[in-house]
C-alpha cells in the first residue's frame, strides 16, 4: 500500500450518531486521523459527489457507510462508493441490520408519506428550482447496506462503541485484516461480559425500564426486564446492563442465534413461570408474556428489515 490509506465515510438514512461516535475513541482518534487520508466525508470535510465521481475506481482503501438505505439517492451513492472503494464497511446498526429507521417497514411507503406530508400534499421542487431538485424518491422499504452492495466488514452498534471501532482501525492500519464478512464484535452473547448475577433463572413478570429501579446486582431478565443480552453479540462490554438498562440488541444477534425475535421468544417461553405446574400454569404464563408491550419493537429494534421482509402489497 503506497502512501496513507484513503478513507471515506458516508451517511445514508441515519441520525448522525455514527459520525459522532468516532470522537469517543478519544486521543486514539488523533492517531488514526494522522495515519489516513480522508478523501470523502460530508460530515467532516467539504467534499461533494462530483469529487467522488472523479476518483478512479478502487482508489479509496475503505469506505465506512452508516445509515439505512431509504431513498434512491442513498442507493446511487453507495453503488458509487462501492465502485470507488476496495473495502466497504457497514458502520453502525442501520447499515448493518436496517437500524431503528428500519422499524418504519411496519408501515408501507404510502402510509409513511401520508403520515408525514398529510393527504393531498405533493412533493414539489423548491421555489424557482428544477424538477431535478425535488427530493429523491423514497424506496418501498428501508434496507440494510448489504441488500444493495457487497459488504466486506461490519462494525456494529448503535452507535458503534470505541471497543468495536478501535479493533477495526487497528486491523485496517496494520493491514492484518480478518476474513471477509467479519463482524467486529464477539461471537458470544454479551452475558459473557455482563457482571450481573444469574441466580434464579425465571421470568415471573414483564417490566419496562421506566417501571422499576432494578436491583444493581441481579440479572435484569430475572427481574422482568426484557434484556436482549442472551441473543446479542458481546463486544460493548455490556454497557447498558451495567448502567441498569436492558440490552436492546444494537450489536445484532450472535451468529448462531439467527432471527433475534425467534431466539428471544424461545428463551422467554422457557424462562416464564407463573402459577403451579400443569395446564393452568400455561394460561398464567401466557398472561405474563402478553404484558410485553411492543414485541416487534423490542425484539427487532435494530433488525426488522433483515428478518421481516415486506409482505404487504401497498
Amino acid at each position: 500500500m503506497r502512501g496513507k490509506p484513503k478513507l471515506a465515510v458516508y451517511w445514508t438514512g441515519g441520525c448522525g450518531g455514527c459520525d459522532v461516535s468516532f470522537l469517543e475513541l478519544g486521543p486514539a482518534l488523533l492517531d488514526v486521523l494522522s495515519q489516513v487520508e480522508i478523501v470523502f466525508w460530508p460530515a467532516l470535510v467539504d467534499t461533494k459527489r462530483a469529487d467522488l465521481e472523479e476518483l478512479p475506481p478502487r482508489s479509496i482503501t475503505a469506505t465506512l457507510v452508516n445509515g439505512t438505505l431509504r431513498t434512491e439517492e442513498n442507493v446511487e451513492m453507495v453503488r458509487l462508493l462501492r465502485e470507488k472503494s476496495q473495502l466497504v464497511v457497514a458502520f453502525g446498526a442501520c447499515a448493518h441490520l436496517g437500524g431503528v429507521p428500519g422499524l418504519a417497514n411496519l408501515a408501507s411507503r404510502e402510509e409513511i408519506l401520508r403520515t408525514v406530508t398529510g393527504n393531498g400534499f405533493r412533493l414539489a421542487p423548491p421555489p424557482g428550482g428544477d424538477a431535478e431538485d425535488s427530493p429523491p424518491e423514497l424506496l418501498g422499504a428501508a434496507r440494510p447496506l448489504a441488500d444493495e452492495v457487497a459488504v466486506d466488514y461490519t462494525v456494529p452498534g448503535c452507535p458503534p462503541m470505541p471497543s468495536l471501532i478501535g479493533p477495526f482501525f487497528e486491523a485496517l492500519l496494520s493491514g492484518d485484516l480478518p476474513d471477509p464478512g467479519h463482524v467486529f464484535a464477539q461471537e458470544q452473547a454479551l452475558c459473557k461480559e455482563c457482571p450481573r448475577t444469574r441466580e434464579d433463572r425465571k421470568l415471573t413478570k414483564v417490566l419496562r425500564p421506566h417501571e422499576a429501579l432494578p436491583d444493581p446486582q441481579e440479572c435484569l431478565l430475572d427481574q422482568g426486564m426484557i434484556c436482549m443480552g442472551p441473543v446479542t453479540r458481546g463486544g460493548c462490554g455490556a454497557a447498558c446492563p451495567k448502567a441498569g438498562m436492558p440490552c436492546t440488541g444494537c450489536v445484532g444477534p450472535t451468529p448462531e442465534a439467527g432471527d433475534p425475535a425467534l431466539a428471544m421468544i424461545a428463551a422467554l417461553g422457557s424462562l416464564v413461570r407463573a402459577g403451579d405446574e400443569g395446564p393452568a400454569a400455561f394460561a398464567a404464563e401466557d398472561r405474563v408474556l402478553d404484558t410485553l408491550v411492543d414485541p416487534l419493537g423490542t425484539f427487532y429494534k435494530y433488525s426488522l428489515p433483515v428478518y421481516v421482509r415486506a409482505r404487504r402489497a401497498a
Binding site: E256, M264, S270
Partner: protein, 662 residues
C-alpha cells in the same frame, strides 16, 4: 436396487424398507418407496424386505453395508422404540458405527394412521427426511461409567420388602427406607387375604423379620428420602431419619411406658378406631421391634414436664436427647414402592361418611376383623360397640365415578368386599350382608370361585346398582339404592355401612416423584416407561416401580412387581460398567455466553451454570429442551442439530435436496 447415478465422493446411504407383513405394505406401496429413495441424492442402495427385523432382513442390511461401502443407513419400518437397537446392533456387526443408522417410522407414524395413495407419499417423505438426517450424523461411542454397589428401596410394604429381599439375596446391599415406625405397610393392617383367607400378618411377618435380620439390608424406619441427585448407577441419596427417642436395641416391648403415658391420640394403625399413647408400638409384630415416641404428641420431651415413660423404663431405652439423623448413601438403582392410601371417606358426603360414625371405610373394617385390632377381631360398630346385624357394603365408592371422584377402577375392591362380607358372616352367623356393586371384576387365580362361594355358600345379597344416599336415622344407618336388575328401589336399615374406597397414591407420592425426577400420571400414580413393555421402569433410567404406588393392585401383583423391580436393579448392580447414550446435548463453548437460560429448563438437572454451561452427559437424557431454549444457538443435540432438522423439514415438505452436501 442400486442408484443409477451414485455420487462417488458424497455420502453413501442405504435405505431398507420393511413391509412388516401387511402392517406397512397394507397401505404403503413399498416398491414405490424403494424406487423413490433409490433416486434420492446420496442414496446408493435401496431394498425392501417382508420383515426387516427377521434374521434374513438384518442380513440384507449387513451385506449391503459391506458390499456398497455404506456410510449411513435408514431403516424405514416401525417406531424406533421397537427395533432401533436391533438394527443398530446389526449395523455395528457389519462394521458401521451404530449411530449412523436411523429409523424412519413409516408404521406408527404413517401406515397405521392413513389410507389412500397419500400414505405412500408420506412414507417417502419420512424416509427422505431420515436420509437427510443420517447425512449429518457423526459416529459416536456410548459413554461408559462405573456404578455404586447398593440399591435403595423406598417403602417398606410387602412390595418393597420383597424387592429388598430379592436384591439382598442376590448378594447386593440394600437400603430400605420406610416412613412409618415399622415396615409392613398396608398388608400388616389386613385381617385375612383373598381368596385363600390366609391370615395376612401370619404370611407377612416372616418376610418382615427376614428383612430386618438380613445382613445385606440396612433398614431405616421412621425415615424419609430428603433429596436425590445423580443418575443411573450413581444416585446420591440423602435420607432423614426422625428420632424415635427409644433405643431399639434396649427396648423389650414391655409396654410399661405406654401405660404411664398421660397422652391419648387416635391410633393410625387402627385407623383411629382406638387410642394410643404418645409412646407406642404400631402393632405387636412391628419391625423393628421397638416403641417409638411420637414427638408431635409427647408433652414435651422434657423430664421436668412429664418424663413418666423414662422413669418406668427399667432397661433405660428412652433417650430424650436423640436427634434427627441425616444419612447419605450412594446407590446404583432405586425401587419406589410407596404404596397407596384410601381415598378420603369424608369426601363421600352422599354416603354420610365423616358425619355418620357407622359409615366406615374398608381398612377400618379390616381392623375390626383383625384379631389384633381394636375389637380383638369381633365385629363391633364404632358408635356404640354393638354387633351389627345388617351390614351394607358399597363397592366402587369413589371409583369409576369420573364426574365426582376417581374415574378408574380400584381393581381389588370386588375381591376384598366379598372377603369382608364372608368374614362378617363367619363372625356374625345371624347377620345379613348386602353388597351394592356395579360389576363384579374377579379376574385372578381362583378369584371368581371365591366370589361365587361368597354369593352361594354365605348367602350374601349382591345388589346390582349404585347407592343414592346414606343417612342416619336413630341408631340405624339408612341406605337408599336401586337394584338395576329388578328395577326396584331398595331401602336397608343397616347397622353398619362399609365403603370400598378408591385406592389413591400414598400421601407425598408426587413430592417424592419430583425429587426423583420421575413422572406421575393424571391420577397421581407413578408412571411407567411403557405400559406394556416397560411396566417396572420409570422414565428415568435406574429407577423402578413396584406395588400400588404404580396403580391399584393386589398382593400377588405387588409382590411380583417387587421381585421384577429387584431383577431390574440386580441387572444394574451386576454389570461391571454401565453405558449411557451419547446422543445428548453438548455446549459449543466458543458460542456460549454463560447466560444460563438453559439451566432451569433441564428436567434432569444435567446442566450446571458457569463461564459457559456444562452438560453432565450421564444425566442428560437427550430431550432437547435446552437446545430450544438456548438464545445464542450454543447448545446442540448430537446428531440432531438445527441444520439437520432444517434439512429434514425441507425435504419432508418436498423441497429439492442440495446435492454435494452432507
Amino acid at each position: 436396487m442400486p442408484n443409477p447415478r451414485p455420487d462417488a465422493r458424497g455420502p453413501r446411504i442405504g435405505v431398507f424398507v420393511c413391509h412388516c407383513g401387511k402392517n406397512i405394505a397394507g397401505t404403503v406401496e413399498v416398491e414405490r418407496v424403494v424406487e423413490a429413495l433409490a433416486r434420492h441424492p446420496g442414496v446408493v442402495y435401496a431394498a425392501r424386505h417382508e420383515y426387516m427385523c427377521s434374521d434374513p432382513g438384518q442380513d440384507l442390511i449387513k451385506r449391503a453395508i459391506k458390499d456398497h461401502r455404506l456410510t449411513g443407513v435408514v431403516v424405514a419400518a416401525c417406531s424406533p422404540t421397537m427395533h432401533e437397537t436391533t438394527f443398530r446392533n446389526a449395523a455395528e456387526e457389519a462394521g458401521l458405527n451404530p449411530y449412523l443408522l436411523e429409523i424412519a417410522n413409516i408404521r406408527e407414524g404413517c401406515s397405521w394412521v392413513h389410507e389412500g395413495p397419500e400414505t405412500t407419499d408420506k412414507a417417502i417423505r419420512i424416509a427422505r427426511a431420515a436420509v437427510e438426517k443420517v447425512k449429518g450424523n457423526h459416529p459416536l461411542a456410548p459413554t461408559e461409567v462405573g456404578h455404586a454397589d447398593k440399591c435403595l428401596v423406598i417403602g417398606g410394604g410387602v412390595s418393597g420388602i420383597q424387592a429388598a429381599l430379592d436384591v439382598a439375596n442376590a448378594g447386593y446391599e440394600v437400603v430400605l427406607v420406610e416412613r412409618s415406625p415399622s415396615i409392613g405397610g398396608r398388608m400388616a393392617q389386613l385381617s385375612e387375604t383373598f381368596p385363600t383367607l390366609d391370615c395376612s400378618q401370619c404370611i407377612l411377618t416372616p418376610k418382615m423379620v427376614e428383612a430386618a435380620r438380613h445382613p445385606k439390608i440396612r433398614l431405616l424406619t421412621y425415615a424419609e428420602v430428603e433429596s436425590v441427585s445423580g443418575y443411573l448407577g450413581n444416585y446420591h441419596v440423602v435420607i432423614r431419619k426422625k428420632p424415635t427417642y427409644v433405643d431399639p436395641d434396649k427396648c423389650n416391648l414391655c409396654g410399661d411406658c405406654a401405660k404411664v403415658c398421660p397422652v391419648r391420640v387416635p391410633d393410625e394403625f387402627n385407623r383411629g378406631l382406638s387410642p394410643r399413647a404418645a409412646i407406642y408400638v404400631p402393632f405387636p409384630q412391628a419391625v423393628p421391634s421397638s416403641y417409638t415416641l411420637d414427638e408431635e404428641h409427647c408433652l414435651g420431651l422434657n423430664p421436668l414436664r412429664c418424663g413418666e415413660c423414662a422413669k418406668v423404663c427399667t432397661v433405660g431405652a428412652i433417650n430424650y436427647d436423640m436427634r434427627e439423623e441425616r444419612i447419605e448413601e450412594d446407590v446404583a438403582a432405586i425401587v419406589v414402592a410407596t404404596g397407596y392410601d384410601l381415598y378420603g371417606k369424608e369426601r363421600m358426603t352422599e354416603y354420610g361418611a365423616g358425619t355418620v360414625p357407622d359409615v366406615i371405610d374398608a381398612l377400618e373394617f379390616e381392623r375390626l376383623l383383625s384379631a389384633g385390632g381394636p375389637t380383638r377381631g369381633e365385629v363391633r360398630r364404632p358408635s356404640d360397640g354393638k354387633v351389627p346385624k345388617e351390614v351394607v357394603f358399597i363397592q366402587c365408592s369413589g371409583s369409576r365415578d369420573p364426574e365426582l371422584h376417581k374415574p378408574y377402577c380400584s381393581k381389588i375392591c370386588c375381591m376384598y368386599t366379598a372377603k369382608h362380607a364372608l368374614l362378617y358372616r363367619h363372625s356374625v352367623h345371624d347377620g345379613t350382608a348386602y353388597i351394592f356393586y356395579i360389576d363384579i371384576r374377579a379376574g385372578g387365580k381362583e378369584y371368581e370361585e371365591f366370589v361365587v362361594r361368597a354369593m352361594e355358600d354365605e348367602r350374601i345379597l349382591y345388589l346390582r346398582g349404585k347407592v343414592a344416599k346414606v343417612y342416619r336415622d336413630g341408631d340405624k344407618v339408612i341406605v337408599w339404592g336401586v337394584d338395576t336388575l329388578t328395577g326396584k328401589r331398595i331401602e336397608v336399615a343397616a347397622d353398619l355401612v362399609v365403603l370400598a374406597q378408591a385406592m389413591v397414591p400414598s400421601v407425598g407420592t408426587e413430592e417424592l416423584a419430583r425429587k426423583l425426577h420421575i413422572a406421575c400420571g393424571g391420577e397421581g400414580f407413578l408412571k411407567e416407561a411403557h405400559p406394556k413393555l416397560r411396566p417396572l421402569e420409570a422414565l428415568t433410567a435406574g429407577i423402578f416401580l413396584a406395588g400400588a404406588a404404580h396403580g391399584p393392585k393386589d398382593i400377588p401383583e405387588a409382590v411380583a412387581q417387587g421381585s421384577g423391580a429387584a431383577a431390574k436393579a440386580i441387572a444394574i448392580l451386576s454389570s461391571p460398567t454401565l453405558t449411557h447414550s451419547p446422543e445428548v446435548a453438548e455446549v459449543d463453548e466458543d458460542l456460549c455466553s454463560g447466560c444460563a437460560v438453559c439451566v432451569p429448563q433441564c428436567p434432569y438437572g444435567a446442566i450446571s451454570p458457569g463461564e459457559v454451561a456444562h452438560v453432565n452427559e450421564l444425566l442428560c437424557e437427550g430431550c432437547g429442551t435446552c437446545v430450544a431454549a438456548c438464545p445464542s444457538g450454543a447448545m446442540r443435540m448430537r446428531n440432531q442439530t438445527d441444520d439437520q432438522v432444517k434439512r429434514m423439514i425441507r425435504v419432508a415438505l418436498g423441497e429439492p435436496v442440495e446435492v454435494g452436501r452432507g
